[in-house]
Symmetry: D2
Subunit: 402 residues, 4 copies
């Protein structure tokens, strides 16, 4: 019953994308087990991306002039859900994090020269990028603590630092790094800037693809620990202005959280389908499917309710961002971030329990999501930070500052 | 961010109703402790109802021609939330259960004679009514089991039976009773009919106002156990057709659940306000309010998220009913019934914990709702029945019948 | 499987007490609805107490020389569970709070004169007492904040203050009041003292029996708001030494929490029986009891597991107190306080859901416990305080002071 | 406060084992990342096992005459907790599943010839074994459904079938297979038998080490899919009698669940330590550790309470088995199975949340347990089966058969 959000444009493209995901993307999932992701990027996934382009569905988040579908955030949210149905959906359509966020950032804040050099090929899917913010030495929930520095000398920045969870660094062309450019600024939110660093810069070290939940991964499906050893880049590689790092990060993360949330809802729907279809098919005794068990019926009902609730909240938030901007929707964004991440975890957990031993194996996608989406409650701000934001806003009404 | 649901009409009347509730209804809550409800109905609440009429806000659920505001269900839902803010809000506006459901039923299915005799004064608030369905001997979750009978002899029904949870029987003018008229019908859903019984009919016995959660209550605020001892009523007191009892009950309950859900959301908002304002005001030490505690902040954030989710789900469901009818929204109605009832219980529980000892006393409304809204997970179908309905629908897609 | 805790003494008396509760106490519960508790105390409950004495089971917590059964705390815990099975069990055996705590306090810290005057008749059940600590103006979770003062002039204290939740003040002979005697002491834990105030002292005002969860109650079943207007009592009415108020309170509360926890487990067992027997008896259709539903089976299993866990934790804690004293078991006491209170609430909630409409009425005891044991998570320290105590202790091992 | 369970023997060996685990086992965990487990078994872990033997702590579950420590189950439970502290603890001491269960089975039910050939080297750690029961085609929660057959012809069984989750098949010397020997027996519990199959038997196929939660593993750390293609083994390889398969399985699983539960509690304690130490060390700002956050304190307190509850329940159950046998403790065993598995999952989840990004990586053991102990709620009977067992027993008291 979200038809109130189905625009004319969506009536046209959403079914197309659903069909495409079902017929073209899902069959490609089998390749995930056959070779490293970075090789898939050059073979099966390259072919898949070409099919997306051929179907006229490429980069749905971009404006039509940039080669996209020209969707509002509320519209794109619904597309993103459909893509989230598959772990390779967003990649196939070139709207995967962190590239999608970087595209938005460059689009709005990069110089024309940078746009031409980095944004254009990124939009076309010719290169990949990454985003380097979190540092192992500091709690991510307080992003103002940071040791990476960009020291300006003449027309160059010299960057030194240590980052991790730089997603997709393996095989990327450039990163956007968050580095302190004004260490003595009394306002911690004005200390840092965002700067492009091509990954072939001397001194850039990809220490390792971190082994996460049993897999180091590769290519876009990897999260790197990296070091910047006196990396020299032109000052023109600055994005926005000096000291705007946090402002831009905030701008980047707002819609980014909508993207994540809608992708999670896509996962929820896929997992929910698996839950229902498996319990309908798997028999306890001949003619007695798992679905006959009341406890499983209740899980199905509770998951259905929670997924619906999650979708409504996210679409209303996206609608609000379209109307009033991300900043006005700050609290709503925090609300959905923790709400949807927890629904996702619940749905996956119940689906695994229903699948029994099979749910533990890598023969289904459940294990993949169980392992890799535990992160949903942590990245882009842990639950605890977002709950704080919501409570802070409510308590303001009563003149309490927390 | 439910502005998508704010119609022109609501832009006008919603603020009026909010003001009225705040300025006129809430101050009347103090009277709840001073005398039995049935006496309040004749004094302070009578005066309050007159003020509602004077303000042109009477019976907002009715069409304009019937003296109401002519709202869609989606619009009325939002009014109902505002009225739910106070335990006497719906009564003040003459849209309290079970009368509102009876009005809908009579409006659609009663003869003109019955409408004139019973509906008209009910709409004006001159009389009250009740609804007699649940029987103590049978589990309410299987409504087809019923011992009350209406035996037709000539132009009369003779009704015999035993019912309880006949809300508001104390002081009511008539009840609509569900009774078996066709005991041998093989389809259990075709056995019963709905018949009006004036409460002054010989043989009608109000056994007791059942003591519920510490209070027997009186008047509209009571739930009676009643017996029908060979009550004789004209066959013209039948509503709809013979055997349509369940059909009408279903029709009555669909929107009725929306009403309940929106009323609960009104309670949630009031309780949420109490939660925030008390934790902002109450000090652990000088200058250190309860609100400074992170655990309380998390409760506030989680309640906020859940209330928002609840509201979105209910309004989308109401919108769907307006567009497609209650029957098409059957599953959505079941979804909100259990979802919102559980949110309500969570919000009340946290608010009590925050209020500490005070939350246990009757010095605030928390105790009232804690006691009387535990029923929300039971009446109009317990959680378990509604979860079954949702699961049944999902599993149908996989050819499983549960 | 707690037989490891069944001593020779318990093998003898526990079955006797179980029989007595079943045959004598439970049948008296019906009187709770017939007259105010304060009148029952003089009639039916007086007779019941005489039967307890006649059976040689009186005051099981007292030493044999004081007329009790001479049980260890671990033994008494198991008796307390059996008494907790009925809401009048502890009262019948004269080991109800707050009298039992007061007896312990006077036994250990009162002068012989006070013992003779107050303790002796209290032990015999000839009088009742109360305990006056919490103040409405301050959060109970910080007990050092207190406005009630006892000013010494010559051989008298003059007491002024405002207290609430003074349980059983209605009809009691004396209270033990916590009052500030040394306001300027820099250590907030050394400011207060405990002093006996006979309730017929001039200036003692029982403002009201607070209406709690729908009932003001009376006699022992009431919680009073009281005021001390310049109440004059001899300095010899001091218990322990001046400034020892908090030390004594702590001493009093440790075993007191064991008593509560074991009483709660008694309630849990009674409610669990109701849950099982009702779901075994109540039919959805002929021959299909509620117990056939898997969800109800799961509730039964989960409640069983949690009650067992609760009992083990409490008995081990009681055993530890017997061996090492309450102070060494401080953290374990906090652990059971929040753990058991939450199990209790869960068990009651599920039992009500299983009973449906009946569970909401006062026709069973469920409503009584639902209403009056919501307090379990609040009195004697809310959950939040006890969780803090446990975490503080664990974190000490890592040199963190919280 | 489980000192009531600390026997003289434990006072001696438990501290030794704790020291050994800390000083010898934990430092070996680093090797888990360096080579496949099956290679570790021949190098670092072989050396570690020798150290265990040298320390006189080998195979603590065996009787002294068999080279073990001669512990009761209640004593061994406490040892098992200590070993569970490390993912290689049980393996180091040769009491890892499934070998420990197979040792018990062979000890009680195998012929002397089989004992000499298979049990003796198993006890010495010279060989490994596996256990082949679950079949991919059937829900494990109904173990009577099975397609694997053992057809007797003369002095041989010919075994055909398909199994999975045959833990440790990779590198094992023999398996005990559950196969149908009497397909027409009307009692489904009398159809199957247990038979030893050496893994070098013709027709035995190790199809694959199943990739589980991202890892196929190897050696003892693997779970195989296997096929039996007309495997021929002597009838003397039968364990117990024909048709006793389920009886033996039940016997094997009872104490086996105690072993798992105590191992899980060991994991819980290790994870709890990580949770506390990390929150004590990790700073949000200089001097402000994560542990200063109230929400984290509550998690610590709740985990502490739940782990304690789990340990009490398991030790009381072990004590009961020692006194009365596993069969008398059947319900208690089911109770701990689901209770402890859920506590484990909660503790791991909270620890990950506290560790943030680090908790997702394989740089700590949290990811290992998060991934591999999700199975705890599934293997050896899913939660749902054990809850059913508990409820069935309780409802028997009310004459309801479920």
């Amino acid at each position: 019953m979200t038809e109130i959000f189905i625009t004319e444009k969506l009536k046209k493209v959403l079914p197309q994308i659903q069909e495409f995901v079902k017929n073209e993307v899902v069959p490609c999932e089998q390749f995930l087990h056959t070779k490293p992701f970075i090789e898939l990027e050059k073979s099966e996934l390259l072919a898949l991306r070409q099919k997306v382009k051929d179907a006229g569905l490429w980069a749905p988040h971009l404006s039509e002039s940039e080669g996209g579908l020209g969707l509002s955030l509320m519209e794109f949210g619904q597309v993103s859900e459909v893509l989230g149905y598959s772990p390779i959906g967003h990649f196939a359509f070139n709207c995967q994090a962190p590239d999608i966020g970087n595209m938005e950032l460059l689009h709005t804040h990069a110089s024309n020269a940078l746009k031409e050099k980095y944004l254009a090929p990124l939009q076309k899917g010719e290169i990949r990028s990454c985003f380097s913010m979190t540092e192992p030495e500091f709690a991510g929930s307080n992003p103002t603590r940071m040791q990476t520095t960009a020291t300006k000398e003449g027309e160059y920045y010299y960057i030194n630092g240590h980052k991790w969870f730089t997603t997709g660094a393996d095989g990327a062309t450039f990163t956007i790094v968050m580095a302190v450019t004004d260490a003595t600024n009394p306002n911690p939110y004005l200390k840092a800037s965002m700067i492009i660093v091509p990954l072939d810069t001397d001194g850039f070290e990809l220490v390792r693809n971190i082994s996460i939940m049993g897999e180091a991964g590769s290519g876009h499906h990897s999260h790197a620990e990296v070091r910047y050893h006196h990396c020299k880049v032109p000052t023109s590689y600055l994005i926005g202005k000096e000291g705007e790092g946090f402002k831009l990060a905030q701008e980047r993360l707002g819609p980014g959280r909508i993207h994540h949330c809608m992708r999670w809802i896509g996962i929820c729907e896929r997992v929910f389908e698996m839950m229902c279809s498996y319990s309908a098919m798997r028999e306890l005794e001949t003619g007695v499917p798992l679905a006959s068990k009341q406890v499983i019926q209740h899980w199905i009902a509770e998951c259905r309710a929670n997924i619906n609730a999650a979708r409504y909240m996210v679409l209303h938030t996206a609608y609000g961002i379209d109307k009033q901007g991300a900043s006005a929707m700050r609290v709503e964004i925090s609300t959905i971030k923790f709400f949807v991440a927890n629904v996702l975890q619940q749905v996956i957990d119940k689906a695994i329990q229903i699948h029994g031993g099979l749910g533990l194996t890598d023969d289904t996608l459940l294990s993949y999501w169980f392992r890799h989406e535990r992160a949903a409650r942590i990245y882009d701000g842990p639950d605890e930070v977002h709950k704080y934001v919501v409570a802070r806003e409510e308590l303001k009404k009563y003149k309490v500052k927390i």
